[in-house]
């Protein structure tokens, strides 16, 4: 029995951020080093904490193989949008500065167990992983790159959905990305979609749901409408497991739930079945 399997209780002294990670789900204290070694999966409750896009790339690709594409494609502000808390352009610029990323998806070429792929990884830290026009453009370019290089396309989603600040232009990215995915499929190339926590709204209703395989991480929130909206509509409380990866699999929309540690090997195995 490891120490971390004991009931969660705070150490006598308040732990410093430098040493301890706190599982957001079960509140267990986990040594930062162990937390990192487990790829941010709680050893106590199996909660899969969100990864940023660079961590995800490191998890899935062969060391040193990732080459970013289209980093210059960044956010747009087609509506010159402002709300009560200020201008979208300012918020987006601050997000770029804070995250070091230009958009809510990082795209590039890489190898996965030596299989050459084109990869896109969303980052929830970038404006909730929202689907902006820069996101859509990066996905289109990644899809066209996959076709040009005759490589499989893999997209890892983590998104609350469309980006309201880009209004209708954000909505149109759903159509644009699906059109690009359709071309990848027409070219006979595999498209694998990985749905991580959360994959909802306009992203679940576009490229995330149309993989040759839809693969999910355990307990990831996956759905179209928000829980609160649905509860207001049907005037009933929803069960706890509603819109989880497990629920989505049981209803036939996800092929497999894969623990984070096994995800890279799972992808490589699937790609070998696809002839790579």
């Amino acid at each position: 029995m490891s120490w971390f399997e004991k009931p969660a209780e705070a150490p006598a002294r308040v732990p410093t951020d430098a040493i301890w990670a706190v599982c957001p789900s079960c509140k267990a204290y986990v040594a930062k080093e162990a937390w990192r070694a487990a790829d941010k999966v709680c050893p106590r409750c199996n909660h899969h904490e969100r990864l940023n896009c660079r961590e995800r790339v490191a998890l899935l690709t062969d060391a040193g193989s990732f080459k970013e594409l289209n980093a210059e494609v960044s956010f747009n502000d087609p509506l010159s949008f402002s709300d009560s808390s200020g201008a979208y352009a300012d918020k987006a610029k601050a997000t770029v500065a804070k995250t070091g990323e230009g958009e809510s998806i990082l795209t590039g070429t890489a190898t996965v167990e030596k299989i050459a792929v084109v990869l896109g990884v969303m980052d929830f830290k970038f404006l909730g992983g929202s689907l902006g026009s820069g996101t859509g453009e990066r996905i289109r370019l990644a899809a066209e790159k996959a076709i040009a290089l005759k490589r499989p396309l893999i997209i890892v989603s983590a998104s609350g959905g469309a980006r309201m600040h880009e209004g209708i232009v954000s909505l149109m990215q759903m159509a644009k990305t699906c059109a690009a995915i359709a071309r990848v499929k027409e070219a006979g190339l595999p498209y694998l979609s990985i749905l991580t926590d959360p994959t909802t709204g306009g992203v679940s209703a576009s490229y995330a749901m149309v993989g040759d395989l839809n693969i999910a991480e355990p307990k990831a929130l996956i759905g179209f409408a928000g829980r609160r909206v649905i509860e207001q509509t049907i005037k009933q409380k929803l069960p706890d497991d509603f819109q989880t990866a497990e629920y989505t699999l049981a209803h036939g929309f996800v092929d497999h739930i894969v623990p984070r540690k096994e995800l890279k090997a799972f992808l490589a195995n699937v790609l070998r079945y696809a002839g790579y």
């Binding site: 949008f81 402002s82 059109a179 359709a182 209703a205 576009s206 490229y207 749901m209 149309v210 179209f224």
Partner: protein, 270 residues
Amino acid sequence: MAKKTEKKLAAWDIVQIARHAERPNITDYIRLLCDDFVELHGDRLFGDDRGLIGGFATIGGRRVVLIGHRKGRGVDENIEANFGMASPEGYRKAMRLMRLAEKYGLPVVSFVDTPGAYPGSEAEARGQAEAIAHNLEFMATLKTPIVVVVTGEGGSGGALGIAVGDRILMLQNAVYSVISPEGCASILWRDGSKAPQAADALKITAESLKGLGIIDAIVPEPAGGAHADPAATAAAVKKAVLACLEALCAVPLKSLVAQRYDKFCAMGCR
């Protein structure tokens, strides 16, 4: 036709016209602009959505497959039609009919008028997200012309699920948005009563969307709005749709699909 002298309406005023209880709905348009309509029911998987209907139609002598959201008139009809909020069955029925259109060499005319896809637990269980996503992918490569007319409310993904096309038309007082002004206001303004501001900021009117390059043309409405003269509105819609069909049917299918791809790829690019 709208008089040039009419006062320019705010986006929020246009939202009210777009949602007007007496605004012509798909049933009215079918009656007013189709010479013939053969409704086709069911998605062959689960059921027949009454909030999204379709079938064979003849418009000005031209045979098409017509699909569209259905809002009702009055309480009973609206309950049956779920206020125009389609379920996965609706999107899957639309796809089935579009496949038929491709097979029979008929163009597709799609009428968009929905507050959004139905946000219910059953809709989630049956894959609302997948149903819409699949349509987006499918419509992008459909080998037949598609003309879309946003007649009332273009509510987010629920609208887009039947709105990928070669020509996107919008009635003068229709709106098309990623989120309802009320929803946007409650999230970004943290105050639902700021919906008029959100409506303005979201740029959801036909005029704004034409400026953004999202729609191709605006269909004029009679003074006071479409409900003031449904027959005149339907005549304007018919004229605009037929003009699009005439142009699109002359384009080789391969070029048509390539142009559709380029059209959507250009959206949102600097």
